[in-house]
């Protein structure tokens, strides 16, 4: 039999192949669109999970940072005339800088104050975006963004992003980058320090961990990836509305993380894919759909606090396959 590590590599390899061939099998344009959206939500959910799952800080402005990344990228393309490939990284940097600037004051707060402070931050930024007509287009939003420019290849060929399937591979690439960076970060010593902070911040501090510095770095990286998801979202959709930066967006991302399984890498990936697909499947419920999601969220937190991943681990423990439960 294979060792545990080997088994994992094989499973991940198979999943990757599945992700690569999936759009070739699913030829329906609308379903491909859903898959692109899932990819974008996975990036955002992975980013939220970094600050929520590992550092234990519920950032209710996460959706707002997603919106900031989207608006920054869109405005750089539209107002500054930058190409997408320059606007996206710069948009991420702007988001991360705002994350750094706002993270320093808000992360000084502890316990109940942090979610409230970030919620207020999110509301304040939302209103700036929604009301600053001259700069952000206000309630009307931004229209007519072009898709990312084609990447030239040798021999006169190029990778064009006009089709949904090409956008899917673009998003998949960024999902893999995000998974790679975040799993390396979580596995490193700073990841262990973050978990120590989540467990007991005073204790971590007394062990000589500069908790404030670690939290700020974690928050900044988290907002960077939220901005990345937002920037891709803007270029892919071509239109933006203030609602894309509303603090309710944070709630949706929270849903992905919690249902998938908080404090794991697989959790936000599963949640970011499972929840939007479920949303599509539940279209027939109309307005009651979000009510059902609210119920799912409540039942999850009550009976399955570590989401789908936690549930699988628990089942594996019970049947003696040696999973680990946190």
């Amino acid at each position: 039999m294979f060792t545990n590590g080997r088994k994992k590599t094989i499973i991940y390899g198979l999943l990757l192949i599945l992700a690569i061939v999936a759009p070739l099998v699913i030829s329906n344009e609308y379903n491909q669109h859903i898959m692109v959206m899932c990819g974008i939500w996975v990036i955002a959910a992975l980013a939220l999970n970094l600050i929520l799952g590992y550092a234990g800080q519920l950032n209710l402005a996460h959706g707002t940072f997603f919106g900031i990344g989207a608006y920054a990228t869109a405005l750089l393309i539209q107002k500054a005339g930058m190409p997408f490939w320059g606007a996206l990284p710069l948009g991420c940097i702007i988001t991360a800088l705002l994350g750094l600037i706002t993270g320093i004051p808000t992360l000084r707060t502890k316990g109940h104050y942090f979610p409230i402070a970030t919620m207020c931050l999110g509301i304040a930024i939302y209103y700036v975006i929604a009301r600053w007509d001259d700069f952000t287009g206000g309630a009307r939003g931004i229209f007519g963004l072009t898709r990312p420019e084609a990447i030239p290849l040798p021999f006169g060929k190029e990778i064009s992003f006009e089709s949904t399937i090409a956008c899917y591979y673009l998003v998949l690439f960024f999902v893999l980058v995000t998974i790679f960076v975040i799993s390396r970060l979580v596995g490193s010593l700073s990841g262990k320090r973050l978990i120590a902070i989540r467990g007991n911040e005073e204790l971590a501090q007394s062990l000589g961990i500069n908790t404030m510095r670690d939290k700020v770095i974690c928050f900044t990286i988290s907002t960077l990836f939220a901005g990345l998801a937002g920037g891709i979202f803007a270029a892919y959709m071509g239109t933006l509305m203030a609602e894309n930066a509303h603090f309710l967006v944070s709630f949706e991302m929270l849903l992905f993380v919690m249902i998938g399984g908080v404090a794991t890498i697989a959790g936000p990936v599963i949640g970011g894919i499972f929840v939007p697909i479920l949303t599509e499947e539940l279209q027939f419920l109309g307005g009651m759909r979000l009510v059902v999601f609210g119920l799912i969220l409540i039942l999850t937190i009550r009976f399955l606090p570590y989401g789908i991943v936690g549930g699988i681990r628990m089942a594996m423990m019970r049947f003696g396959r040696g999973g680990k439960v946190q």
């Binding site: 706002t102 402070a117 209103y127 937190i301």
Partner: protein, 286 residues
């Protein structure tokens, strides 16, 4: 002068609403130690209950107010019992997420059942008072006076009755209260019900002036959190005073500075306050 007076009256009226909502929020926080994000959604349901009591059952305004209060009291107790109590010994974050789930259910449930349209309750009195060349509607005066009476009543209830004393004891020292034979779980439920009922009254009082719609709780709950953070979480007078201050500030800023960025300024201000003092203006260090 007339405009300034009108602005101040409007500010005090808005402040009365904020004070009641924030008071409920702070009472719940004091006992259960959870910032109940779903408080705004319950506020909204309170307004709908009153609306339907009037429009479907022909109840007079005051009766509708009492009905909304009683129903939301029961609802608050149920929410505490079914949603928050099972999470009491769990990590804090679980309660936050529970509240987010409740918001999704209440707000979208209201949207699905009652639709997005705005509704209004007819004011109790159409009378207009003329002072210093300006006019003030009677309904505003009614809101201000009723709120003040109610706030004093809640204060007397907590300070002068046995039940109130038990609630206060529980919020000061849960274990101690339990050792004295106080049923702390029951106190939690009653306080949650009381706080929710206060929100329902606030919503019903303001419904003739502002409108009733499924998302009406969102702006109010945001402000209520600003208030209880400034006033110190769990503090009775902090919530009341903070409510009036923020209500006045909001109307003054939107009349004299900018009506466009009022919310951004107030919520931004809170972030600045927290940056300077992470436990709020009058909050205790912990």
């Amino acid at each position: 002068m007339g405009i300034l007076l009108q602005t101040i009256i409007n500010g005090i009226m808005l402040g009365s609403i904020y004070a009641m909502v924030a008071l409920g929020l702070t009472l719940i926080y004091g006992i259960l130690n959870i910032p109940n994000f779903s408080h705004g959604a319950l506020y909204m349901i309170g307004a709908y209950v009153a609306f339907f009591a009037i429009s479907s059952f022909g109840a007079p305004y005051w009766l509708a107010l009492i009905v909304a209060m009683v129903i939301l009291f029961v609802m608050g107790m149920l929410v505490e019992r079914l949603a928050f109590r099972p999470l009491y010994d769990k990590p804090l974050i679980n309660s936050f997420i529970m509240a987010v789930g409740l918001i999704l259910i209440f707000e979208n449930g209201a949207l699905a059942i009652w639709g997005p349209e705005f509704r209004q309750i007819a004011p109790l009195s159409d009378a207009v008072i003329r002072v210093l060349g300006t006019t003030i509607t009677m309904q505003r005066v009614i809101v201000i006076i009723s709120a003040a009476v109610l706030i004093v009543a809640v204060h007397l209830f907590i300070k002068k009755t046995r039940l109130g004393a038990a609630i206060e004891a529980t919020s000061q020292n849960r274990e101690g209260a339990q050792l004295m034979g106080i049923n702390v779980h029951l106190m939690g439920g009653i306080t949650f019900g009381l706080g929710t009922a206060l929100a329902a009254v606030a919503a019903t009082l303001v419904a003739p002036i502002l409108l009733i719609y499924p998302m009406m709780g969102a702006p109010v709950i945001g402000m209520a959190f600003v208030i209880i953070i400034i006033g110190g979480m769990g503090s009775f007078f902090g919530a009341v005073l903070g409510g009036y201050i923020i209500g006045l500030l909001e109307t003054l800023v939107s009349s004299y500075v900018t009506s466009y960025f009022t919310e951004a300024i107030i919520f931004g201000l809170l972030v600045v306050v927290l940056a300077i003092k992470p436990t709020g203006l009058f909050g205790k260090e912990h």
